[in-house]
């Protein structure tokens, strides 16, 4: 069972385009419910990564065949949506404080990034769809509130929320790829990135300087900074841009 805070997701109607299951599990004793399936999928995800989460693997873990799952989950896609929303329940959000809207947006961004990164390559899921689960809604509401409290005009805020998600998700995804490759390589994390950076550096400096003068000269800068620093930088970039839209700002 999930032991984490799931937010309060009672009474939120499900998106109308999420196809209804063939029926409701009703009062099944304990065997094979939607929650149980999602729990199992989450366990596999954490232990072996998203690619290991297959219908067959989940079924096997529950001592049954893959066909059995389709009574509780209409799709693999739906299973992944549910899985993402379960994970999203771990994201803790600050109470809006108008004075600190910039910091709070960063806090939320880091929190989303942290939780996604904590669950293998789950970040691949939100990139492939628009999350509509209760927890996505909860986060959306909160971030939007923070921005409005900071004086960001409504339409700007609405679009900005969208752009921030895209950025956070894609960065988390990119990060998860490296983790996956590092795992597959069998090397230590430090050894892996050292070797990786070494190869890229060698490649950059080996380029013909007359055709790629800037790349060759600035190879050190191109390779500087780890994932965290770059994520932070992009965030800062977007927030500075957003500030310029606040009413009464320098630009308008």
């Amino acid at each position: 069972m999930a032991t984490v805070d799931q937010g309060q997701d009672a009474e939120i109607p499900a998106p109308p385009w999420r196809k209804r299951r063939r029926s409701t599990p009703a009062k099944a004793k304990q065997p094979l419910s939607q929650d149980l399936i999602v729990d199992t999928a989450l366990r596999i995800l954490d232990a072996e990564g998203l690619d290991a989460v297959s219908m067959r693997r989940v079924a096997q873990e529950l001592d049954t065949g893959p066909a059995s799952l389709y009574a509780h989950v209409s799709n693999k896609e739906e299973l992944l949506e549910l899985l993402l929303d379960r994970v999203s329940g771990e994201m803790r959000l600050p109470e809006p404080d108008p004075e600190r809207w910039r910091e709070q947006i960063k806090e939320v961004a880091h929190e989303i990034h942290r939780v996604l990164s904590a669950h293998a390559d789950i970040a691949r899921v939100p990139l492939g769809m628009i999350p509509t689960g209760p927890n996505a809604l909860r986060i959306n509401e909160r971030v939007m509130t923070i921005m409005l409290a900071g004086g960001v005009p409504p339409r700007i805020a609405a679009w900005a929320v969208d752009r921030f998600y895209l950025y956070i998700n894609s960065d988390a995804y990119e990060g998860s790829i490296h983790v996956t490759k590092q795992r597959a390589s069998g090397l230590e994390p430090a050894e892996y990135i050292a070797r990786f950076l070494g190869q890229v550096r060698e490649y950059f400096t080996s380029l013909p300087a007359d055709r790629f003068p800037v790349t060759v000269r600035h190879a050190p800068e191109l390779m500087s900074g780890d994932g965290g620093e770059r994520f932070e930088f992009g965030l800062e970039l977007m927030i500075r841009g957003l500030e310029s839209y606040v009413e009464g700002s320098k630009e308008a």
Copy 2:
């Protein structure tokens, strides 16, 4: 054969970590070369999307078995890298003009976005790896040059290039998903997005207003703007942020 401008990719050493083929095709008369395979893959991509590009499908198109491809391409991943680089050859880049660095960055961003979007869901490929092909290098060099000409400090520029790519690629990917789903639905593009937006709007306004006051009230803003406008907005956000790092700017 590819009829498009491939940039000049002669003499650029291949990345050392790209495993060498079992041997060089040398002077094979005409049957089954790496170029031919990539050409075929590109044709399938454009006609049916990235999911249709399988080793079997490419082989079948060439009247052979999948095993034959592995003499010219060590991997499916490598095939996709080659495919991406072939497509990237279509991207036309402006000559750097220090006065217009902001506009030029936008131009490049739109160009990358345009070309990626023109080839089905190829945008999924660069998200899953760091492009290292000759064309990626060519673009990197140019964008970096434009930024430096605009007075962006080298390390900031280096990181910014990275962040801009991530943004462009992920937005193009998100867009391609909608195109894929629209294709699969069989509906007209206009009809598809109308129906989609209608469902989301209905969902948002059906939410309990006491728990989601901001989402409910600003539903119109949350849904305003098409993909292009939102892409443009995110770009503007990042560029405004980047401006603030230019030496002699308001902030520093």
